[in-house]
Each structure stands twice: as structure tokens, then as C-alpha cells.
């Protein structure tokens, strides 16, 4: 089986939506139930990585569960030796699903499950399990179950998907069944039409032609077609010839008791039909006095319907099927009922009803037998009606048409349909034909409910009856003002599948207007109307469910195609892989940037083409591989990025990231950006800064030089004012010089042009240099600042570039000096901390406000206090420091409570040098 082979190598996440849509399409296209079942079973096996899928359908008539299953090849051997089993409802997990009406997910069936029965396939080592009831509206008609021998297989997304699939399969099955029922109904109506014509030909024939009987049996696909009739003894039914079917002989000796107290009699009087699909083991059936020997009567399925109205039971029509044939469905019972009605009108003239009046049912007025032609015409009309309404799903039309026909063919002046709402326990006047006001859409709520009024009684007792005189009828509740005018009525319950739907009532201004014929016509029409109502309701439900599902699916598809469209049109290259690292999306920009055709990449392992990108590609590959192995919770949220230089010198920036839904790893998405231009712009910027700085130096040389000359007295003596002003020019020139140098420095650092030459550095030596620097500052400015150095003698060496580390340290010390007022103190402290040496530069100066602390390492940022103090500076110093510290693999942070006088502490952490010999070795290597 191809489908199961696919299931054996599932790619769980990729294209799942596509496959879901495909599955849905297949489901909706399968009109035949067998095809549908096959599609559902193999589809599930594919979509959910199951080893066994079981679709259990409840047989409404028997309550048994019929299992359909497919299994993966790995477990097929077991099932080949075990034929399709039949289970009884309420057994195992299947029963649990039917009872609890909700989805069941078990991660490991081998673990004891509290409050759960064991699965029906408990003798196989299945572990992961998903089960869902198949429902339409409130009705559960089966279950869908899937299992696998591996435990903990199903993730939350699988459970969600499974729920959706169960819903889809449920709707599809129900729709399919409804269509089958409808076509069956159409077939049987054709059959009835044939019967009717045959009867015309055989009008008043003394007996039924066996060949014709065989033809009917053939149409109904039954092995037995027989009629029991009341002959002589009014409380006994005996087999009437001819019969169809080889096993009918077993029935010939039966004399069935249909007396008012007999079980069979009461069944026939209160039920439109009776069916059993397990004849010999059905205790209820045996109770009816119909115990039959399985050897001489090996039929399995039996369906019978009464002939004649309950008050005038004439006999019963029996059809049967052997166990090889499908069991009887409720819909077939409806056909049998119609057949019985037909048969009834056939035999009726031969034996006029004898009045009985033995029970409390409403008295039926004896009416003279109508002319056969009238009866025939009426039957014609009813058949046409049945044909029309059985295919109609428009409830209002069904009700209106039925009433129109009934009013037309009976003496009724008005016909109404009452529908019963069980939730509200109320009848609704849903349709009215003939006289009386129009009924608004949705009907009129009436005051009475179950057991009340004529309709309530008919529904409760499931009986049709005639009321000859409404004036003396206690159950009669006039439902509107016009209703008072009527003198007599005929009432029939609307019942389908044992569900009470309402009542059809015919009303006449004449007393005793309705007789047996009218009642039969009404009953027949009521049966059809009930089915039509049920169909319309069911269709409405199914349509709603299908629409809901359609909306769900559509929104998913829209979402998915929107995302796809966005990904396709995005300017960055996007490569999406599934959990197995297969490329599932390679957008147009990726094609352009990487110069690869999507066709050659799609569905291939992503590593195939990453391999083209050298060592950077290797790191990328490692990252992607590790994501699948690691539990999703630990997957990185931080960005990873790699810079890759292509052969044609273009530069790509690659951001790979895992895609995780819940705790399931779905795949990866990698974004490529061609940053060649950005890199080029960056280079140009650095070049520009370098050029500008260079160009600034030349005029500064002249300014500085000539000021020096003037100050030296090269042009003669200067007065003190001239001397002071020239010094101001000189100082500002020096500031400019620092700015230019800093600018050059940072642009080179950021452009990656600064390389460090690492070597072990003596921390105490560095501190001595810083001390000397402060000494010089002190003497140059005359500012009195105390300096203390605290460093243990056994400090390990640092690993750094001597010039740059000195630059860092001097920068920090210079800041401390500048931002500490006269009389302040600077403390230099060094200590080891783990694998770093930490150097603290602490002052008791102006401090840095908390709000500014996060910004002081930004380029050109200068603190408010620094500006107030008028300390010269470019705002580049700390930015350079931070860059250099990071290049050393170190850290730097600041502590200050922002209160002037409480000062600031910068802490610089730099890595400790490796052991001397190693350090030397690596230094030589560089």
C-alpha cells in the first residue's frame, strides 16, 4: 500500500497543511461510503504517523460497533490473522469516547490509566493513542482512533490536527450517509410507483402474483418478503400466500397472537415498524412470541410493519435478510412503512375493517369505502408529494406543500403543522394552509407542550387518530381564534428515527369529516414530512459544521498562503526547512542573492548547499543540527548571525533561527541579507573620517606651530594678555587634535582595522604607569587629587595588547581626574576574579546619574555634569574603551549612585594570561 509506505517515512510538519487540504478535498469527493472510509483511514495514517487507525461506526439499530481499520505494514501481520472484529458499544476506549463525547489523548497505553478502560487492541503493544468521537450535532455515531507502538509520539499540534480531522471525517460520513439514504428513498419511491402501476394492471386481482412479489423483494434486496394476515380469528395472524423467500416455510406454522394484551399486538399497534438485526439473540424479539429455529430460519435481520391502522390491525408485512447481507437501516423501515401502506390499500377492500372499540383510543368514524379510483388518485398525489419533499431540504416548503396536498385531497378546510421544541417544551405552529392567518417565519409559539392538545397526545402515544366532534373533545386546545370554527379533525404524529418532531392536523368545519382513508393519507404524508424535517435539520447541522470547518481550514490556508506570499516577496533571502532539514521554501530573493535556482534546492537537505560556503557555512550547519537534537525549551532565542564572504567578494549576513511551536521543533528559517553595499558604505565612511581627520591635521599643524612660535617669543616679547590669548588658542588646538585622534581611532576600530597584539601584561606595572599619568596631570594642572593604589603582589598577568590596555586605563584614570573636583581622591584597585583580573578606578567626584549610566558608552554622549563642569572632551573616550575591552574579551561596567561627591567606580575585567610558556608559544605563533 503506497499510503502506508509514506506513513512509514513521515515528515511531520512540512506540507502538512497542504496534505490536510488534499485530504479534505478527497473526503469531500468521496461519495461512496467505502471509498470515503478508505480515504479517511489511509489519510489519517499518513497525516498523523499512526500504525493503526480505527474508524468505528455505531449501528443505530443494534447499538453494535462496526470497526473499520487500516494498519501500517509493520503491524499488518497481526491484523491479517485477526479478521475485522465487531465490538459492543461501551467496551474499551471506544465506549469511553462514545460516552464522554470528547477527545482522548493517551501518551502511553502501557502505563496504567486511571479511570480509563483498556483499549480494544490491548493485546498489541501500542503506546501512543488518540481517539475522538464522530459527531453530528449532539449525536455520536462512531469513533476515530489512532495508535502507534512508540510512546509520547503525539504532540499538541498532532492532537489539534486529529480533532480537526475527526470533525471532517464525521461530517463527510454523515453527508455521505444522508445522500445514500436519499437515493435509497428515491429508489424506493420508484419501487412504490412500480407497485402502484402493477396494481392498476391487477386491479382487484384475487391474489398477488408471486413473480411480482419476487420483483419487489429484489428491489428491496431482501431474502424474505411475507405478509401475515388476520384470517378468521381476529387475535391471530397467520402467513398469507404467496410469500417470497426459501425460508418462508418456517413461518407457515406460526399463529401470532395480536390480542390487545399480547406483546406483538401492542408492538404493532404502537410502532410504525420494528426491526432487529440480530434476530436469534434478541431477547426482545423472542418475547414477541416469534422464537424461530436458527437452522430452519437462518435469517439475521428482520423488519416488520403493521398493516392497517392501530385500531384496525389487519396484519403485518415482514422482510428479512440473511446474515450475509447488510443489516436494515432506519431509512429502510420508512420504505417498508410506505410499502405496507400500499399493500394495505390493496388488501383493504377485500376485508372491510371490523369495528373493535376495545381500547381507549379515540373512536374512529366508520366511513364507507371509497371508490378505488379515488383512492388511487389520492395515492398518486401522495406519492408525488413524497417524491417532491423527500428531496427538498427547505423545511418551510416541505410543510407548506404537504399541507396543500392534504387539504386538497381531504375534506379539510385547514391543515396545520405543529413542531415540538423539546428544549422549551412547547409546540410551534410552523405552517398553516387553507383558512386562517398566515404563519410568520419561524412560526408562532403555542401555549401547550408535551402531552397537551391533540398534537401532544398524538406525539406521546405515537398514534394517528380522528376526532369526529371537536366540541366534545377534551384534548382539543384551539390554537388561534379561527380554530374555534372547526368541528372535526384528523391528527398524525411527526416521528422520525424515534424522535418526536411534532404533529400534522387536518381541520374541518363539518363534523365527522375524516375517515380511515383520510387518516391514512395524513399518516403517510406525516411520515414523509417527518423524514424531510429530519433531513432538513441534519443538512442544516452538517452545513453549519462543514462551514465552520471550511472557515477554519480557509483561515489556515489564507494564513499560510499569506505568510508564504510575504516570505516570497521579502527582499531578504529566506530559506525554510522542515524538521528533517529539508528545504521547503527558498524565496526569490534567496535565489537572487545566492545565485541558485529554487528548483535545485527545494526538497533537498539544506546542508547540501550550505556546504558551499566554507567555514562560516560549517558553523551554520552545526547550529542548525544542534537545534534538532536539543530539547526545544533550550533553543536559543538570541540572534545568531554569520558573515559569509562569497567568491565574488559579496558579503552575506546570515541569521539562522529555529521554528518551534509549543514544544515541537518544526524546522528552521534562515534569513540572508546581501550586505555588500552596507560593508562598502561602512568602508567609505571610515575612509571619509580618515581623510577628513588627515585634512584637519594639516591646518592644525600651522595653527599650533605658529602659536608655539609666538609663545616662544620668536617675534618679540609678548605682553601678558597676548600670552594668555595665545595659550587659549593653543589649548583649543590640542582639544581639536584629541578629537581628531579619537575619531580616527574609533572609525578604525569599528571598521575592524585595529588588530591587537596580545601578550602577558604585568598589572602592577600598568597601575604604576597610570599613577605616573595622574602625577603628570597633577603637575600640569595644579589640581590637588589624592591617588591610592591597592594591588596584591601575587596578581597574575593580563592577556592584552600593551598599548591598548594602557589606552583603556589612562582613559579611565583621566576621566576620574577630570570629573573629580579639587581635593578629591582616586583609588586604583586590582584583584583576581575567576579567570579575569578586575581593575577598579574609583573616584569621589561628581558621579554619573542613574539615567545616564546606560548611555555613557555611546559615541559622542557626554554626561550633563561633565558639561556643567566644563571639562573638555569628545564623548568618544568611553566608546573607544568599550570597543577595546570587548576586543580583549573583557568586560567593563560602571557603578555610581549619581550623587555628587559619592563618585563613580569603573570596573574593568580583562582575561588572565595563559601559563607563561603557553602564552609565549602562542605569542610566537601570532
Amino acid at each position: 500500500m503506497t499510503s502506508t509506505t509514506e506513513a512509514a517515512t513521515p515528515s511531520k510538519s512540512s506540507g502538512r497543511l497542504e496534505r490536510l487540504a488534499h485530504f479534505n478535498k478527497q473526503l469531500s469527493q468521496a461519495r461512496n461510503r467505502d471509498v470515503l472510509l478508505q480515504v479517511a483511514l489511509t489519510g489519517l495514517l499518513n497525516l498523523l504517523q499512526g500504525e493503526i487507525v480505527e474508524l468505528n461506526l455505531i449501528e443505530q439499530s443494534s447499538g453494535r460497533i462496526l470497526a473499520h481499520r487500516v494498519s501500517a505494514p509493520e503491524v499488518a501481520a497481526y491484523f491479517q490473522s485477526h479478521p475485522q472484529p465487531h465490538y459492543n458499544l461501551g467496551q474499551g476506549l471506544t465506549g469511553w469516547l462514545v460516552e464522554h463525547r470528547r477527545l482522548l489523548h493517551i501518551q502511553d497505553l502501557q502505563e496504567p490509566q486511571e479511570d480509563l478502560p483498556s483499549p480494544t487492541f490491548a493485546d498489541l503493544p501500542f503506546r501512543s493513542y488518540l481517539g475522538a468521537p464522530l459527531m453530528v450535532g449532539e449525536q455520536v455515531f462512531g469513533t476515530l482512533e489512532i495508535a502507534h507502538r512508540e510512546a509520547d509520539l503525539y504532540q499538541p499540534t498532532d492532537v489539534l490536527l486529529f480533532g480537526l480531522l475527526a470533525l471532517q471525517v464525521g461530517v463527510a460520513l454523515r453527508t455521505c450517509r444522508l445522500e445514500e439514504e436519499n437515493s435509497q428513498r428515491r429508489r424506493s419511491l420508484e419501487l412504490l410507483e412500480q407497485l402502484r402501476q402493477a396494481r392498476r394492471e391487477l386491479a382487484r386481482a384475487a391474489e398477488v402474483n408471486p413473480a411480482f412479489l419476487a420483483q419487489v423483494a429484489d428491489q428491496l434486496e431482501v431474502d424474505l418478503l411475507a405478509v401475515f394476515r388476520r384470517q378468521g380469528d381476529p387475535s391471530k395472524l397467520t402467513l398469507q400466500n404467496p410469500v417470497h423467500g426459501e425460508h418462508a416455510a418456517a413461518l407457515s406454522s406460526l399463529a401470532l397472537d395480536i390480542g390487545p394484551t399480547s406483546p406483538l399486538g401492542s408492538v404493532l399497534r404502537t410502532n410504525a415498524y420494528w426491526l432487529t438485526n440480530n434476530l436469534h439473540d434478541d431477547p426482545a424479539f423472542v418475547e414477541l412470541g416469534l422464537a424461530l429455529d436458527p437452522d430452519s430460519f437462518p435469517l439475521q435481520h428482520l423488519l416488520f410493519a403493521p398493516l392497517g391502522p392501530p385500531s384496525e390491525l389487519l396484519g403485518m408485512l415482514v422482510v428479512g435478510r440473511s446474515r450475509e447481507h447488510p443489516p436494515f437501516e432506519e431509512s429502510e423501515a420508512e420504505i417498508l412503512k410506505a410499502l405496507a401502506a400500499e399493500y394495505e390499500s390493496w388488501i383493504l377492500p377485500e376485508e372491510p375493517p371490523a369495528p373493535e372499540g376495545v381500547d381507549d383510543r379515540p373512536a374512529v368514524k366508520a366511513v364507507p369505502a371509497r371508490e378505488p379510483e379515488t383512492v388511487l388518485q389520492r395515492t398518486d398525489t401522495l406519492l408525488q408529494l413524497a417524491t417532491q419533499i423527500s428531496t427538498s431540504l427547505d423545511l418551510e416548503r416541505v410543510l407548506a406543500q404537504s399541507l396543500a396536498v392534504l387539504v386538497d385531497i381531504t375534506p379539510a378546510e385547514r391543515g396545520i403543522m405543529l413542531l415540538y421544541d423539546a428544549d422549551l417544551n412547547r409546540f410551534f405552529l410552523r405552517a398553516s394552509f387553507g383558512e386562517g392567518p398566515l404563519v410568520p417565519p419561524g412560526g408562532i409559539a403555542l401555549e401547550h407542550g408535551s402531552g397537551q392538545g391533540l398534537g401532544g397526545w398524538a406525539l406521546d402515544n405515537r398514534l394517528a387518530f380522528v376526532v369526529p366532534d371537536l366540541a366534545v373533545e377534551e384534548r382539543w386546545i384551539p390554537f388561534d381564534d379561527d380554530a374555534h370554527h372547526y368541528k372535526s379533525a384528523a391528527v398524525a404524529p411527526l416521528i422520525a428515527n424515534n424522535e418526536s418532531l411534532g404533529a400534522a392536523i387536518l381541520l374541518s368545519r363539518q363534523p365527522e369529516a375524516f375517515g380511515e382513508d383520510e387518516l391514512r393519507a395524513l399518516t403517510t404524508a406525516a411520515g414523509q414530512v417527518a423524514v424531510a424535517i429530519k433531513n432538513a435539520e441534519l443538512y442544516l447541522l452538517i452545513r453549519e459544521q462543514a462551514e465552520r470547518m471550511g472557515v477554519m481550514l480557509r483561515s489556515q490556508q489564507v494564513e499560510s498562503s499569506t505568510s508564504r506570499a510575504i516570505l516570497e516577496s521579502i527582499a531578504d533571502g529566506v530559506v525554510v526547512t522542515d524538521a528533517d532539514h529539508r528545504v521547503v521554501l527558498f524565496n526569490a530573493a534567496a535565489e537572487r542573492i545566492l545565485g541558485l535556482a529554487a528548483d535545485s534546492i527545494l526538497n533537498q537537505p539544506v546542508f547540501d548547499f550550505i556546504g558551499l560556503y566554507g567555514p562560516e557555512g560549517q558553523r551554520w550547519t552545526q547550529a542548525i543540527r544542534s537545534w534538532k537534537q536539543r530539547p526545544p525549551a533550550s533553543l536559543p532565542t538570541a540572534e545568531i548571525s554569520e558573515r559569509v564572504v562569497l567568491e565574488d567578494e559579496r558579503v552575506l549576513l546570515i541569521h539562522p533561527a529555529p521554528v518551534v511551536l509549543g514544544d515541537e521543533f518544526l524546522g528552521t528559517v534562515s534569513i540572508f541579507r546581501d550586505i555588500t553595499r552596507e560593508v562598502e558604505v561602512d568602508r567609505l565612511k571610515s575612509e571619509f573620517v580618515a581623510t577628513v581627520s588627515h585634512e584637519l591635521r594639516t591646518p592644525m599643524t600651522s595653527i599650533k606651530g605658529f602659536v608655539d612660535l609666538l609663545l616662544m617669543g620668536a617675534t618679540g616679547d609678548l605682553n601678558s594678555e597676548q600670552q594668555r590669548f595665545l595659550n587659549i588658542v593653543k589649548n583649543n588646538t590640542e582639544r581639536l587634535e584629541i578629537l581628531v585622534n579619537d575619531l580616527l581611532d574609533i572609525s578604525r576600530i569599528e571598521a575592524g582595522k585595529v588588530t591587537l597584539s596580545f601578550q602577558p601584561l604585568d598589572v602592577r606595572e600598568l597601575l604604576r604607569e597610570a599613577e605616573a599619568f595622574v602625577e603628570r596631570q597633577r603637575s600640569e594642572t595644579g589640581k590637588q587629587i589624592q591617588l591610592a593604589v591597592e594591588a596584591p603582589a601575587d596578581l597574575p598577568s593580563l592577556w592584552g595588547d600593551p598599548e591598548r590596555v594602557r589606552q583603556i586605563l589612562i582613559n579611565l584614570v583621566e576621566n576620574a581626574f577630570n570629573y573629580t573636583p579639587e581635593g578629591g581622591e582616586i583609588i586604583l584597585r586590582a584583584q583576581q576574579s575567576a579567570d579575569q583580573v578586575e581593575i577598579e578606578v574609583q573616584d569621589n567626584g561628581i558621579g554619573i546619574s542613574l539615567g545616564e549610566q546606560s548611555r555613557i558608552f555611546e559615541r559622542f554622549y557626554r554626561g550633563e555634569q561633565a558639561l556643567i563642569m566644563g571639562v573638555a572632551g569628545t564623548g568618544l573616550g568611553l566608546a573607544i574603551v568599550l570597543n577595546l575591552v570587548e576586543m580583549h574579551g573583557g568586560r567593563i561596567w560602571v557603578n555610581s549612585d549619581g550623587i555628587p561627591g559619592r563618585g563613580t567606580t569603573f570596573t574593568l575585567g580583562l582575561p588572565i594570561a595563559k601559563k607563561p610558556e603557553l602564552a609565549t608559544a602562542s605569542q610566537e605563533a601570532e
Binding site: R697, T698, T701, K704, G705, F706, L709, A714, N741
Partner: protein, 121 residues
């Protein structure tokens, strides 16, 4: 009196340096481009050459290299005076054979002390 050659295309700087050197008792010959500087060096046999790096007609590196390559000039010590202050640039100057490399802007004191140091060596 020691004779010093200045090659500098910036007139202001040329004047600044010449003025300073003369005040410190040096004889000064100057040129505004590299090629003229090389000719002057051959003709005047200065005791020291101060070269700018970026100059018309021939850059300072080239002038320095030619001085060092010419057996009649190779003894002349060379000091670069340049706004190009990057390590690679300084390195290039020293590799061309210069004794020192001073980055502009420089102080006159620094210049004089560097010259005196070089001449003593």
C-alpha cells in the same frame, strides 16, 4: 652650520618649519615637491632631510627610498613630517629608511629635539 632640507607642499608649514629651524641656528633649503627635493638633496648635500609624505610629483616615501638607494646620499638622515598617522603609514615610512616619523600636528619643541637627537646619532 648644519644644513637641513625641507620638502613640504604646504607653504605655511614650510615657512613655520624654516623659521623655527633658522631661529635654532640651522641653514634651511626647501622645496614644495618630492622631485625638486631629491634634486636639491643631490646638489646641496644637506645634513638632514625633513620630508612630507604626500607631495606632488613624488611622494615622501619614494624620495626617502631614492636617497637611501643613492650611495652619495644614503648617509643623509630622514625624518618624516606627516598628517598620515596610522600605524601602517608610520611603518611604511620607517621601512623606506627614515630615522623618525613625526605626526602632524607637532610641537616645535618636539621637532627641534628630534632633529638634534637624529643629528647626534
Amino acid at each position: 652650520m648644519k644644513k637641513i632640507l625641507i620638502a613640504e607642499d604646504e607653504r605655511d608649514i614650510r615657512e613655520l618649519v624654516a623659521f623655527t629651524l633658522e631661529r635654532h641656528g640651522f641653514a634651511v633649503i626647501s622645496s614644495a615637491d618630492g622631485r625638486t627635493a631629491l634634486e636639491l638633496a643631490a646638489k646641496e648635500q644637506p645634513d638632514l632631510a625633513l620630508l612630507d609624505v604626500r607631495m606632488p610629483r613624488m611622494d615622501g616615501y619614494e624620495v626617502c627610498r631614492r636617497i637611501k638607494a643613492d650611495p652619495t646620499l644614503t648617509h643623509i638622515p630622514v625624518i618624516f613630517l606627516s598628517a598620515k598617522g596610522q600605524e601602517a603609514e608610520v611603518q611604511a615610512g620607517l621601512e623606506a629608511g627614515a630615522q623618525a616619523y613625526i605626526i602632524k600636528p607637532f610641537s616645535m619643541d618636539d621637532l627641534i629635539s628630534q632633529i638634534q637627537k637624529t643629528l647626534r646619532a
